[in-house]
Every structure is written in C-alpha cells, then in structure tokens.
C-alpha cells in the first residue's frame, strides 16, 4: 500500500510539497509522545498524531516513517511543513480523530 493509495481511500489532505507519496506504508503507529515513537515505531509505519511542532519531522526522519497523518483538522505551522518538505517526509491531514483514522487504516492494511 502506498501513501498515495491511502490518501485516496481516506480522502486525506496533503499538506507538504514535493511528493514522495509513492512510499510504501507497511504499518501504523499512533502516539503523541515523541520518545515513544523514537523507541517503538517501525520503519515504514505511517505515524498518526496530534503533535504538530517542528520536532515531529526529525523523529519521523530518524525512524524511517513513511508519512505523518495529523488528526482532528490540526495544521502544523509553516516552519514544520517547510522542514518536512526538505526532509522528504510527507505530512497529510484529516478532520477525523486518531481513533477513527487508525481504525480505518488498520482495516485497509489488513485487507490489502
């Protein structure tokens, strides 16, 4: 499953510029604690979170996260989005909650 396919199935908004939506999503990780993501997320996971500050980009980059999905209609500030575009980490947005979007992604990945 690519990020692009996930984006289409879930009507996610792409917030960063510069593509990279051909990345493979192999799993999901939901967390709002950066230390938790650093310790436990796996390469290829799509990271579902409410956190929007700059540090999410570094964490995602270090862990080889395929993309970040920001929930509840939050929007990261321009600096975070610029950094993410530079690092090639796609950030997508949804108005849904973490529970709802995770539930749907879990099902999509399991059925794939």
């Amino acid at each position: 499953m690519t990020l692009q396919e996930l984006k289409e199935k879930l009507s996610l908004n792409i917030l960063t510029e510069g593509g990279q939506l051909d990345r493979q999503v192999t799993g999901g990780y939901v967390s709002d604690l950066l230390s938790d993501v650093m310790a436990n997320a796996k390469e290829g996971d799509v990271w579902i979170t409410l956190q929007t500050h700059l540090n999410i980009v570094a964490v995602a980059s270090l862990k080889g996260i395929s993309g970040i999905i920001i929930v509840n209609g939050r929007r990261p500030d321009d600096e975070t989005l610029r950094k993410a575009s530079e690092e090639g980490i796609p950030i997508l947005g949804t108005d849904e909650t973490a529970f709802e979007i995770s539930g749907r992604i879990y099902k999509i990945l399991n059925d794939a």
Binding site: D32, L33, L34, S35, L50, Q51, T52
Partner: protein, 149 residues
Amino acid sequence: MGIKETIEGSFHIIGGDFSRAGEASTEIKTLLQSLGISKEIVRRAAIATFEAEMNIIIYTPAGILRYEITPERIRIIAEDMGPGIEDIELAMQEGYSTAPEWVRELGWGSGMGLPNMKKNSDEFRIDSVVGEGTTVEMIIYLDKSENKN
C-alpha cells in the same frame, strides 16, 4: 444538599508538582457533586478548573485557585505568579503552545488548555502582565435558562 448561601474556598498550587496535579480540581469536583449540581455542569466546571490548575503547575512557580459557588453560578479564579503571557490572542489559539518537550512527554502542553477553559465556561476572562503573572476568571451558570446574559 442544595446551595443556600455562598460557598467559597481556595487552594495553593505549587508549580512543577506533577505528583499532586489535579488534586485541587478533584476536590472542587467532589464538592460540586455533593451539592447536587447536574452532571454536565460539574463536568464542565471540573475540566475548566483542571486546565487552570495544570497551567499553574506547568508554567509558574506558584498560584492560587479560588472557587465561589452561589445558587446561581460557579466562579473559579486562578491567579499565578508566573512569567505572564505576551500575546494572549496567540495563546488562545488551539494548538499554540510554548511548553517545553519534557512537559509534552508528560501528556500536557498541547496548546489546548486555554481553549478548553473558554469552551467550558459561560464567561471567561484572562488578564496577564509579563513578568508578574496571569489571572483567569471563569463563570459557569447553574441554570443557563435563567441566568444567561
């Protein structure tokens, strides 16, 4: 047990003391429940108070949380001796936060505290002087149909 006259009290809150964080708000919640106030109003007052208490703990060395309950309304005042807020309009935005990383790792500092206080109050006022401190006043009416102004 109903409310016949004004009931008031206060708690001293010590900044940085996460182990006791929420105790004052829990006591106020228990008091409101014992007065027979409706569940939804108790919940709103508890949430607003808890956020105010957490702000004192997270951002300031110390503060006072006061409550005043009359037959018509609950009034909560949180007064701290913190650094003050430079741009209140910005601080009121959902998701805006100046919290350091260690606070976020404790599950706080996501920039929803002040919006949450406003959301759960019928009246919300905030005054802040940089270098001196911040005072938040919240009023929640017990019977909105009669007291809404």
